[in-house]
């Protein structure tokens, strides 16, 4: 993979090049946290941030969207949105790895149209980050993005070393001729030092080897209930999770009773209807069942990428109103602490 160097004082030129490719969306501070929003100028966003509440998945599987028009006599037709190019600027490695997992699900042998077309119209620009007290991406091998981006910016102090991930990234770099430079061996030393420093900053860890087997085998542990009693079943952990991807589908007619829409909405496995079938049988009737289901799902391996379904972003812990700590649950089930 090609690496180029961009002096930070010339970052605005990269920003302009990205803007000329498409709408740039970057982390903007909202409340105590951040949100990917459309930005027009450098002052509106930051590349040095902890985490957004809602991960980048929102650009590809929309939180709520109408997917089909329905007519009571004629049936369905797709709702085609105007395609527009979007640059996600400042995506962390964990979120890039999560998108790789989602890509595998949504663009498999039967690709989802809505997802696939948005994904092909997007550019992912990653940025290196420093862990806070909730991050454990390193434990699950998601702290580094080998692939899944178009450009990846590594902060080495006065410059960024930029890994160029593909043709879209190349096209941007091509526009920056004379702005980007060839990195020197000293730059690589800086990069290594940065990575070593970052690596030592992780304060939390999860023993990811054996995790699927352990979580599955200890399904009967009484400790689950200690946490599921506390759990409010609100689904926040699912919606903020960068790999949670369940959606519900509903259909309704307008007041004219002739036309309507079929829509889909982010769903949560904590909701009653998630495993409920017509006739009233619920395959996961209790909050305990659903709690264990979520932890099993997150502790399983994605066969396509070989990665754990949890990328260690820490969102589910940070945004759980009941204060349930994902790592504490897993560690305690495992008999640690």
């Amino acid at each position: 993979m090609r690496i180029v160097k961009l002096p930070k004082e010339r970052f605005s030129e990269l920003f302009e090049a990205l803007k000329s490719w498409g709408e740039v969306h970057a982390p903007v501070k909202v409340g105590r946290f951040y949100s990917f929003k459309r930005v027009e100028s450098l002052g509106e966003f930051t590349l040095s941030y902890t985490r957004t509440m809602i991960p980048p998945k929102k650009y590809f599987v929309k939180p709520f969207e109408d997917i089909l028009k329905v007519h009571v006599e004629k049936g369905y037709e797709p709702i085609v949105e105007e395609s527009k190019r979007i640059v996600l600027l400042g995506v962390h490695a964990c979120d890039i790895n999560a998108l790789r997992i989602l890509d595998g699900v949504y663009m498999d042998e039967i690709p989802d149209h809505y997802y696939a077309s948005r994904r092909s119209n997007s550019m992912i620009v990653g940025v290196s980050c420093e862990p806070d007290e909730y991050c454990f991406c390193k434990s699950v091998g998601a702290d580094y993005a080998w692939t899944g981006f178009d450009l990846f910016l590594h902060d080495i102090g006065d410059s960024y070393l930029i890994r160029v991930g593909g043709s879209k990234g190349e096209s941007i770099v091509a526009e920056l001729t004379g702005v980007v430079e060839e990195p020197t061996s000293i730059d690589y030393v800086k990069l290594r030092d940065y990575e070593l420093k970052r690596s030592r900053m992780f304060r939390r860890s999860l023993n990811a080897s054996y995790l699927p087997e352990v979580v599955d085998s200890l399904y009967g542990s009484e400790l689950w209930a200690k946490y599921s009693d506390k759990c409010l079943g609100c689904g926040s952990c699912n919606l903020v999770c960068p790999t949670c991807r369940c959606y519900d589908v509903t259909e309704s007619l307008d007041l004219n009773m002739v036309e309507g829409v079929r829509s889909r909405r982010w769903d949560s496995c904590f909701l009653r209807s998630h495993a409920l079938v017509a006739g009233g049988l619920n395959f996961r009737p209790t909050r305990l069942d659903r709690f264990k289901h979520r932890y099993n799902c997150k502790s399983s391996i994605d066969q396509r990428t070989g990665m754990l379904f949890c990328v260690g972003c820490g969102r589910c812990t940070v945004f759980c109103p009941a204060g349930i700590d994902h790592l504490e649950v897993l560690n305690s089930i495992w008999g640690l602490r």
Binding site: L232, G233, A322
Partner: protein
């Protein structure tokens, strides 16, 4: 179709805000009512027709003997009965008085222990008295939810029942979490969504006006959460009682003191 669907709107004890909400859908009101034969809607028209109805929309709690009689009559003459609003679904704010001595209540308001208006002693939701086919929660109801349900009912269907809390809608709208960020006493996690998280969106914690998620809301967990954020148990319980006093798990919590 043989004739239009016959529809009636009825009021028991409450502020009449749910029926008012329907009348407030001004721009689409004619479109709504041209589809049906309106048998009774006293707030809108003094013209009350005799006979049964296909769909009865009932707001208000069952508070008085008069309510009880009226509700049973409505049930007997309708095919589908829809409870409109928190009073009809959960007994309303008045139901937060559940457990208090009715004579004391009478005395504190009217200065006499005499039962002046056939008070039943408590404020019940419709489902504690008769079979209810559909419940549309809210204080008041959501107009959009009413229209969708109305269309669905006219076609002979029932709309899907919402099983998700306000938190889901906060996340969908990317509203910063008032519990996580500010430690506010937000009832979003136990309250059924459908309001598009209107209050949290404006920075106001949810007070639970759409009622708890039936059979699901973890009120003990909510209490624990609020206590961990520094709220006094009594304050937290009172907050939940405002709209959820007749939710069985909350009643249990209150019973335990």
């Amino acid at each position: 179709m043989a004739g239009k669907v016959r529809v009636g709107f009825y009021s028991l004890t409450g502020c009449a805000g749910d029926l008012l909400s329907i009348l407030n859908i001004e721009d689409r009101l004619l479109e709504i009512f041209e589809k049906v034969e309106l048998v009774e809607f006293v707030m809108a028209s003094s013209n009350v027709k005799p006979g049964g109805v296909d769909i009865a929309f009932v707001e208000g709690s069952v508070t008085t003997e008069k309510d009880l009689k009226a509700l049973k009559e409505i049930r007997a003459k309708c095919d589908r009965l829809v409870a409109l609003g928190d009073c009809a679904v959960w007994g309303g704010v008045q139901a937060s008085l559940t457990g208090l001595d009715p004579r004391e209540l009478m005395k504190s308001v009217y200065g006499t222990e005499q039962n002046l208006y056939g008070f039943l002693g408590e404020h019940k939701p419709l489902s504690e008295v008769v079979k209810v086919d559909l419940e549309l929660p809210g204080c008041p109801i959501e107009q959009e939810e009413f229209i969708k349900a109305f269309v669905s009912l006219l076609r002979g269907d029932l709309p899907e029942v919402k099983d998700y809390p306000v938190c889901i809608e906060c996340k969908i709208r990317e509203v910063p979490c008032l519990v996580v960020e500010k430690g506010e006493a937000c009832l979003g996690p136990i309250t059924v969504g459908g309001c598009k998280a209107r209050c949290p969106y404006h920075g106001v914690p949810c007070i639970g006006c759409r009622g708890p998620i039936k059979d699901e809301a973890n009120v003990a967990g909510e209490l624990l959460m609020l206590m961990e954020k520094g709220w006094k148990p009594l304050d937290a319980i009172n907050r939940m009682k405002l709209f959820a006093a007749r939710y069985k798990d909350l009643a249990k919590l209150v019973g335990r003191g």
